[in-house]
Symmetry: C2
Subunit: 376 residues, 2 copies
């Protein structure tokens, strides 16, 4: 039941883990995995131009259906020739269904069998999002990979609540598949299950049975202990069919990514690398450089010694700190570029580690990274 | 008394006006004139990266001594190897003296023979700017062209007030020349004189006598009628030595620029093209496109049909309006790029008109531009 123009193949495996190097083919080109997808929330990856994302080496972006549905609306984007044309990005695009944003950003008015009624975060207007509508909107956007509407619960949630959410998401998944017209667009199911491994298993088994082109794993890293997250991920990774891509939704920390790659995850997305950049925090292999700290005021070194991005090639920490302190756009641009180059570099390292059968070592190298601060 | 490494030559003249095509040689390269200088207020041309300004074709930037003196301070910039190195711009830089900002932005505490005491717009701290200090700070910044500290008056001002201001500026000009060590940096005098043609004449005559490498014309387009501005400009242009470049400070509207070029002006700077861009206003030959207008919501045309800038090449008015309405950085970037490409294109047109002896026609083509709104 693979969609036309969409396929996924595993090219290499790491013998010490479940990590795999893969290639996803879509209507707008190929995506090598494991891959990190920069998030183009409102039809732009904040502070970046599309050609700069290409220059870094990104194959694919994620765009948020919730935001584009409300602003500027799928009608205009459809009229403009689809999202690729509208935002000037000719490579593959994955759209989420809007479910996560409805449940996290919007005042939710009512969740029922039919769908979810919510108020727009922009103007308070009332909207009904159904599985069919999520499919239709994404079809109008023309993304290469669409995702089903899923029901999300906050953490912690009772077993009953999560059970209900899993079952509702399964029924919505069926309706999504019925509504989906293959065309050039692949549809991914989304598995849920909170922090309950058995519900995670049920969600994965039932969703796998439906024959989606790929799968999103949702509702993780929402507050649960790290070991619980990894346990849930492991359960589902073992169940989901190995010949389909798996997208771990919303996770972007290097430790989490390397561990998830080792469990067989192929795709990642997260707003943190770009959001942290706009807060003056640069990601480096030595740890986080928070440019708001006075210690960087006279620091004439680049953000990261061996990085080839424009921020590191031409500018000092002192200059970037100067710009950031004055909220200059160029600060946001350069630090975002650096952080996205950092994330892409991490994915290249994962791919190289899989080919060199050293994924376990790579995980070890990144362990404890989030507590590191680069030395003076 | 030309500075080492600095020279200016006239390559062609328009027979129907005083317009000239020139070439200015500086320590960091050549500048073809007439030229518009984008303003890099705080060590960055807002929203642009240095390589993008090169791509448009800009030879030279203007940077504000006032802002850089207060943030991050000339000490750090000197330590970093100078402003070129600090901001990653390897082509020529002109710095103003800070005078205009002191008188327009800062609460001025006291103007005396020695200099001007003011409060920082950033933190309210007290500073004394003298002609010698303005020279020393710009020397530390390492710009290719420095400007003397001048005294500015608001418009309208009494004849006595303007007279005093002209005389003070002349005495400061002498002290600036004494303080200036040629090196690789040229020093420009600044002529003033309010809206009084005879004071304009005196300021130009006395300043010309001092032998500066070039001249800034200040205090125009500050509220006086257009014909008064042009009359003052004409008086001074006729007096200032023809073999030195003349910079008309702070003027950036196409009509004003073409008329000033015809009077023999060589250099221009203005924040309006970049500031308007961040307000959603794009400059086109057909007039101003204000993207905040609802009429552009579904407009799938580029900002300007025959423009080759990235904003026009890859994006529609509808997309730019969408981004601007959400205050997305990419909107500021793309519209700024377009407006700076527009300004550079205007200067190329001036150069071509001088070579083709049709400067008068060019002025006619631009007359009334500011009232134009592109048709539907």
């Amino acid at each position: 039941m693979a969609d036309r123009e969409f396929s996924f193949g595993v090219l290499a495996r790491d013998p010490g883990s479940r990590a795999r190097l893969g290639r996803m083919r879509t209507a707008h080109g190929e995506v090598t995995t494991p891959a990190f997808l920069p998030v183009g929330t409102r039809g732009t990856v904040k502070a970046m131009a599309p050609w700069e994302l290409e220059e870094i080496g990104y194959d694919m972006l994620l765009a948020n259906t919730y935001h584009l549905y409300l602003r500027p609306g799928p009608g205009l984007i459809g009229k403009a020739g689809g999202l690729h044309e509208f935002m000037g990005w000719r490579r593959p695009i994955l759209t989420d269904s809007g479910g996560f944003q409805v449940f996290s950003l919007s005042p939710t008015l009512e969740v029922g069998e039919e769908g979810v009624r919510f108020r727009s975060v922009y103007d308070g207007s009332e909207h009904l999002l159904t599985p069919e509508k999520a499919v239709a909107v994404q079809e109008e956007l023309g993304s290469d990979v669409a995702m089903i509407l899923d029901h999300c619960v906050a953490y912690p949630a009772s077993r009953e609540e999560v059970e209900g959410s899993v079952e509702l998401t399964l029924r919505w998944a069926c309706r999504s598949l019925d509504a989906h017209r293959a065309g050039g667009q692949a549809l991914f199911g989304i598995v849920q299950g909170g922090a309950y491994p058995d519900l995670r298993a049920r969600s994965a088994e039932e969703t796998a049975r439906m024959g989606f082109a790929g799968f999103g794993i949702g509702g993780l890293s929402v507050g649960e202990p790290r070991e619980d997250m990894l346990a849930c991920l492991e359960v589902q990774a073992a169940i989901l069919p190995g010949d389909r891509p798996r997208h771990l939704l919303g996770i972007g920390d290097p430790e989490g990514i390397t561990e998830a790659v080792a469990l067989g995850m192929d795709l990642f997305d997260c707003v943190l690398p770009t959001r942290m950049a706009r807060n003056g925090v640069a990601l480096t292999r030595q740890g986080k450089v928070n440019l708001r700290h006075a210690r960087y005021r006279h620091d004439l070194r680049p953000l990261e010694e061996d990085c080839g991005c424009p921020a590191c090639r031409s500018f000092t920490r002192a200059y970037l700190r100067h710009l950031h302190g004055l909220n200059e756009i160029l600060a946001h641009r350069l630090i975002t570029w650096h952080n996205l180059a950092f994330m892409h570099g991490l994915m290249l390292d994962c791919r190289a580690a899989i080919e060199a059968a050293r994924m376990v070592q790579l995980i070890r190298e990144w362990r404890g990274w989030s507590e590191r601060v680069p030395g003076e």
